[in-house]
Amino acid sequence: MILPVEVMVGAVRGGTSILYAALGETVSERAGVINLGTEGCMLVGALTGYAVTASTGNPWVGVLAGAVAGGLLALVHAILVLSRGANQLATGLVVLFLGLGLTSLFGAAYVGRSINAFKPVGIPGLSSIPGVGDVLFNHDPLTYLSYLAGPAVWWLLYRSRPGLILRAAGERQEVLAAYGHSPLRVRYLAVVAGGALAGIGGAQLSTAYANAWFENMTQGRGFIAVALVIFAAWHPIRAVWGAYLFGAALALSPALQARGYGFNQFALDAIPYVVTIGVLVFLGRRRAHAAPEGLRKVFEMSGT
């Protein structure tokens, strides 16, 4: 396979889990709550998805369970932030820690165990198109599902009534409250839904991408997803492209190494993070204005 195709295949393969998490975080942040614990939600999603697949033999049940687990962990974040008034950024890290701890406590038994994971399914006809077929149409079912996820989230946010209410909650909750809606409920739902999507992303990682569970297997993908949402200016479709961009950055290192380029692995491993910072630096000023009003308080101080 030529390098660009291999990297693009890797972009879709490696980007899918980030894509789910970034969409989830978009939903959450559009409602005005940032969840740095997305990483933790992905981890519990990954382990739960793996464990349930192992015991039921059905990866679909596993993914569903992963979504529930991610949502439940996000619920902890939601309770602390929304009902107890704790700092969003700090609480997010607490949630991350809970996720790390819980998955290492319960995950040890699943290290090295094999499961009936998702298999790549070529789409008849399309998968044999040279290049494009490999990039887009030779993946696991969760990846195909992710093609729909971006537009679906977009439609929900911008074309549906609940989406309008959700965005209003993230902008000016007092306006929403004035018309008899409960911004609190909307935000709870958004945070939990965001966690569930991150959980699906995690489950994709363990049951389709890696076919394995190991401690801390998300390796910062959740944080990248959070950064990606800013980079995408809180827009779901741009978040999808961003996810693939980072999937490509992740895929670049092994692809180059396989071709015998003498790059140091760790220098390449740092690329996604450096690229994220670089993109934020590059776009920072312009993107700041797109932030939901409710988030601006969390994100930046005035006048600096």
């Binding site: 740095l36 107890r84 819980l102 290492s104 409250a177 944080f223 800013i230 491993d269 630096v281």
Partner: protein
């Protein structure tokens, strides 16, 4: 007076309840793993508080945690969220390790310690300062950048110890050669506690005094409370923000050096044991009050050391103590506030004009 006392008592009661709830919940998790929670807590208690050697271990572990916790607290006073303790600790350790590799044996031990401290503080300060500069120039939120820089720092450490700095005469493990004995932090008296603990205690006192009594501390509080008001009062907001972040990063870097020259002696993968993150939680647990941060750091060090007994006595993975830490934090952060609630209902002021 009485009211205050009652409020304090209520606060303390809630705090105790929060800790108790965390312990009970963790016990429940442990039961599902087939271990006996009462026995587990007994083991943890015996192996930490009742054991002289373990107390030493706790203080050794607490030293970098205290420093990294202050590294969160100082920027927090200025309204900045430093989630980059981990990266700054690593950069401090890397700088100290680099100095050690370059100069080991050429300088007397005491001088080496000082040079390593300076190098570590500089490296940590620059690493954090980078995030502050990005915040001020291109408005990228420092919580995000410090977080991402953690991963960059980890990759940098791995790069160095897998290739250029790897000990060629070692066991083949990716690690640097050990720090010369003379350059290591001395032990205090006959204990197993190294001088890094003294450094941490002194740093706590200094930061406490700086924040409480100096004009710098006051200005940081103004900036943290309302940056626009600070700017309009003619304060050099950018310089203050950078100073807070750099001082924070320097403290974390110092923490890395203390851990390297006091406990590890080699740079190796995973050497920082999530110090930065745990310290972040300690700082939030203590609401950024320097003295309480030190206390919270010791408490979390205690839990972490207790975690080792989990592994030995109850057969649970050591990382499982993260659950206990997380639960303690959830309970403490989620407990009822003793400060009065704002009278606003759903954004509409209850008292009209």
């Amino acid at each position: 007076m009485n009211l205050d006392a009652a409020r304090l008592a209520r606060g303390a009661g809630r705090l105790a309840l929060a800790y108790a709830a965390a312990l009970v919940l963790f016990g429940a998790f442990v039961v599902t793993k087939g271990a006996n929670p009462i026995q587990m807590y007994g083991d943890m208690w015996r192996s930490t508080v009742l054991n002289g050697t373990s107390i030493g271990q706790v203080l050794v572990k607490a030293s970098p945690l205290i420093l990294a916790g202050l590294a969160v607290a100082v920027p927090a006073k200025a309204g900045l969220v430093n989630v980059g303790g981990e990266g700054q600790v690593i950069m401090g350790a890397v700088a100290a390790g680099g100095v050690a590799l370059a100069l080991d044996g050429t300088l007397p031990g005491g001088v080496m310690v000082v040079v390593m401290m300076l190098a570590a503080a500089t490296a940590g300060g620059l690493w954090a300062g980078l995030a502050a500069v990005l915040r001020l120039t291109v408005r990228v939120n420092e919580a995000i950048t410090t977080l991402l820089l953690n991963y960059v720092a980890i990759d940098l450490l791995l790069y160095l110890i897998y290739q250029p700095w790897k000990d060629k005469f070692g066991s083949g493990q990716p690690a640097t050669r050990a720090l010369a004995v003379a350059a290591r932090l001395p032990l205090i008296g006959t204990s197993k506690v190294h001088a890094g603990f003294v450094i941490a205690v002194v740093a706590t006192a200094v930061i406490f005094a700086l924040l409480r009594w100096t004009s710098w501390g006051f200005r940081l509080r103004v900036v943290g409370g309302n940056a626009e008001a600070a700017r309009r009062a003619g304060l050099p907001v950018s310089a203050l923000l950078i100073s807070a972040m750099v001082v924070g990063g320097a403290l974390a870097g110092l923490g890395g050096m203390v851990h390297f020259a006091g406990a590890e002696f080699k740079l190796r993968p995973g050497m920082t044991l999530n110090f930065g993150y745990i310290a972040f939680l300690a700082a939030w647990l203590a609401r950024h009050d320097p003295l309480k941060v030190a206390g919270a750091a010791v408490l979390l060090a205690l839990i972490a050391i207790g975690g080792d007994s989990l592994q030995l006595d109850s057969g649970l993975p050591a990382a499982a103590v993260n659950v206990l830490m997380g639960l303690v934090l959830v309970a403490v952060m989620g407990r009822g506030q003793t400060t009065r609630r704002s009278p606003k209902v759903a954004g509409i002021p209850a008292v009209a004009s």
